[in-house]
Amino acid sequence: MENKITIRNLNLYYGDLQALRDVNLDIQERQITALIGPSGCGKSTFLRVLNRMNDLIEGVRVEGRVLLDGEDIYGPDVDVVQLRKRVGMVFQRPNPFPMSVYDNVAYGPRIHGQKNKRRLDEIVEASLRAAALWDEVADRLFHSALGLSGGQQQRLCIARLLAVEPDVVLMDEPTSALDPISTLRIEELLQELKNNYAIVIVTHNMQQAARVSDVTAFFLNGEIVEAGETHKLFTKPRDQRTEDYITGRFG
């Protein structure tokens, strides 16, 4: 299988603090990669490396190589706006813009130059369908997105991201603020999306990682202790630290 993203010898520093140490990982097309590990181990930092969101933080230094389809995303000619379009991100708390459902989804395509009204309508509908939200909002496309439930808002954020046709979807604890039913809907959605995207998801919910992902990477103190097929990692981890973490014996 082709690597979508290849991470080699990655180190990241916030000023003097080293937050990632010699991280190596292959992220594959049409797979869900779950990142697990205790709070502060560097999961979000790592996720932000993959679309250079850390560039926005003062004093960050990145070493090593991150290849997207074989091209170094930290190379000199990289257009960061274009990169973030290809590698989109969904956050822990749904963050719809204070505008209509329609405008939320059309926002990205408009920014990237799409002006054709018919084409925008198509993109909005297709994205909302792909995010399994269309049926619930078709009759209130022009109402404020802030009136949606938390789970609907999170799916709207996913639709907003899909509207710009990314290659990779990054999700940082996307269901931690959602109820169990909304969580299941997002998890089902992930299974559908994975046919077309490489997905990387950070989760504190071990069962969720076990349920949804193909590959799991366990982070500890900025390092990857162990990464591999999810079913193996959760039945017979290679490293005692992984065992201790996933069985709740940590610390």
Partner: protein, 218 residues
């Protein structure tokens, strides 16, 4: 008590329950052989009625395992402990059934057993008892090497079984009047051979418990 602590206590209890069940089964096998060798129908009866307790314990402990899976959603070693626990319970329960089978056969031969044809049945029984004991020791200590060695004994048991089978057939050919009795000894040999297989299954469970991999050792 933290959730993890109480879960650890429950896992430790599970191990104790399995050992309790195992010791009942070991006794049952021992008694069934005693009934056969001493031709004692009372002992045989005891084995048959005692099996209810084994069955009850099996369901009680198995239900516990299912509850732990549902409430704790175990992972990694915890998961393997519970899954192998259920499998070992099943094997032990079947071993208890074979002890009952032997006890029934013992009742059928009581009082009319010719001395010669016991053949190597007592030896087979000792080997089986040895295997069961080693299998459970391997379980208690997570000893893969011991589990492997124990499983290797299964081949020897099979050999003795084949030999015994041949010898008993020859004996019956030569002594047709003994057939109604000796045919039960054939069955006993067969039950012992099955017991050795069950012990081997437990060895495989132990190896999975420790290594996370299944090895067919039969």
């Amino acid at each position: 008590m933290s959730n993890r602590r109480s879960f650890d206590v429950e896992l430790a209890d599970l191990k104790q329950d399995i050992l309790r069940m195992a010791s009942l089964v070991e006794q049952s096998i021992y008694k069934a052989m005693e009934a056969l060798l001493n031709q004692d129908p009372l002992i045989a009866k005891g084995v048959i009625t005692g099996d209810d307790a084994i069955d009850r314990l099996r369901y009680e402990v198995e239900n516990n395992c299912i509850r732990l899976i549902a409430t704790q959603q175990p992972m990694a070693r915890d998961l393997r402990v519970i899954v192998t626990g259920i499998k070992i319970l099943t094997n032990l329960e079947r071993m208890g059934d074979h002890a009952v089978d032997i006890a029934r056969a013992a009742m059928c031969v009581c009082g009319r057993m010719p001395t010669k044809p016991l053949e190597r049945i007592p030896q087979m029984a000792r080997m089986v008892q040895h295997m069961v004991k080693d299998g459970l020791d391997a379980y208690v200590h997570g000893d893969v090497e011991k589990a492997r060695q124990m499983c290797a004994m299964d081949d020897e048991v099979d050999e003795i079984y084949n030999l015994t089978f041949q010898n008993l057939i020859s004996y019956m050919e030569a002594n047709p009047h003994s057939i109604p009795c000796v045919v039960y000894l054939l069955l006993v040999a067969r039950y012992l051979e099955r017991l050795a297989d069950r012990a081997t299954n437990i060895g495989e469970d132990v190896i999975y418990l420790v290594t996370g991999e299944w090895h067919e050792l039969n």
